[in-house]
Symmetry: C2
Subunit: 259 residues, 2 copies
């Protein structure tokens, strides 16, 4: 019986002790008894698709009821790579990442360790989903997301996900009765406008903290994830990793100069 | 006169002392006297689009003839953000990243700090180009790339680059007379198949080194960067950062369940 259950690998970027991943693990346990967790041993937010090339990695067993869990010294992408290579007994049926404390909609998908773990799954040909709640706080209220996360996981397991793609799911931080449902969206065009804070250390030397203002360049476009979230929908953006700007290729053919 | 010259910001991921960036700076100086360098103070290969959220950043003046240069404690993307926000007197006309010691073709664009710096430029609306030489060694031979880098920079300055895109330029590691010219390409579908090396520390505890085998899934496709490089061409892939999998949106509309 056991081998008929889907093998699900879970990671995140907030670290293995974050409430968001514990919430996701609890939901996954209601779907399968083949749950493996390999997640960072410390916060790794904003790590993007970083991998560890110039240092070694360690994993350490982590006590967690009913699942096989390890903390890992690396980035979220390292966790996926090391888990697939050294931890799970076979290729996972599904990789789940999150639930992130904070939004990974629109341009945030590029900076996000949570989503990069899911993208790494897609690169390796494993169906993968990243979940995020638009609330950065450590005590963000995850309960309303539960039934939808379960529904999305079951849909992904039943209907084969397109190979080499993953899903970027973001939840508005509102109560259950206000959530209008799920919208399939595209990534909104947006940018973080930097506003570094400059401070001085006790010896008078300057240092900088990255802060910024989020600017949505197309707030009225109803097919975007940002619009969906602003209206009380859960946004789901299917994601791929061919970043070729196909529309530019013909424009710059003049640069080709065969000898 | 001076303000008619293009303002060029230069960074990399191998660190401010790497031969590759010194090569790029030397070329840029033949094009403009408005050169600014903000580059990592240590190697940052494989950092992808990582940004520093949970730590502060510092920059330090770095002695370099004829250019204003700073080393930075952050990632390549941090360097671009901090440079634009705090270092350059106006928005750069062009951001250059590299020349990387090692390939950033095909899937490597996702892991690359060099290319993520260029992508960050694109996100912020600044024309950006990442250059890489397919030779990882510290004493890689950059000379053959010089005339082509200059040609590409001058083309980019003369012909307006498409907004919110950047270019990923890779050079085969061959001598000048063997280089066949420049090809405008798309990103090849490829993957790194992990082969972690497991070792034991003196106390017997295991640790892991990431290694891997590069597998090109479409070696015969002549429109790809990998093919161009294999044939002795310089590959140029225009890059954008909307990772929506548009072809999947209609497939999964069934998940929308409005209340």
């Amino acid at each position: 019986m056991a081998n008929k259950q889907p093998l699900i690998l879970i990671t995140n970027d907030d670290g293995i002790t974050a409430p968001g991943i514990l919430h996701l693990i609890a939901i996954a346990k209601t779907i399968s008894n083949q749950i493996y967790v390999v997640a960072p041993d410390k916060p790794q937010s904003g790590m993007g698709h970083a991998i560890t090339i110039n240092a070694m990695l360690r994993i350490q067993p982590f006590q967690m009821d009913g699942v096989t869990a390890f903390s890992c010294t690396g980035t979220p992408v390292d966790c996926v790579k090391l888990a697939i290579s050294k931890v799970v007994p076979r290729t996972p049926d599904l990789i789940l990442s999150g639930v992130n404390h904070g939004s990974n909609s629109s341009i945030n998908v590029i900076y996000s360790g949570t989503m990069s773990a899911a993208v790494e799954g897609a690169i390796e040909g494993v169906p993968s989903i990243g979940f995020s709640l638009c609330d950065h706080s450590i005590d963000a209220y995850f309960a309303p997301t539960g039934p939808y996360i379960k529904q999305i996981i079951e849909f992904a397991l039943k209907n084969k996900m397109e190979k080499h793609t993953c899903w970027n799911v973001n939840f508005p931080s509102i109560s259950s009765e206000l959530i209008k449902g799920i919208r399939i969206c595209r990534q909104a065009r947006a940018v973080w406008e930097e506003e570094f804070q400059e401070r001085q250390d006790p010896s008078g030397k300057p240092y900088y903290w990255l802060t910024g203002k989020f600017v949505n360049h197309e707030p009225d476009r109803e097919d975007t994830d940002e619009w969906a979230l602003s209206q009380g929908y859960i946004s789901l953006v299917p994601v791929q990793y061919d970043v070729t700007a196909y529309h530019v290729i013909d424009q710059i053919k003049g640069l080709e100069n065969e000898k």
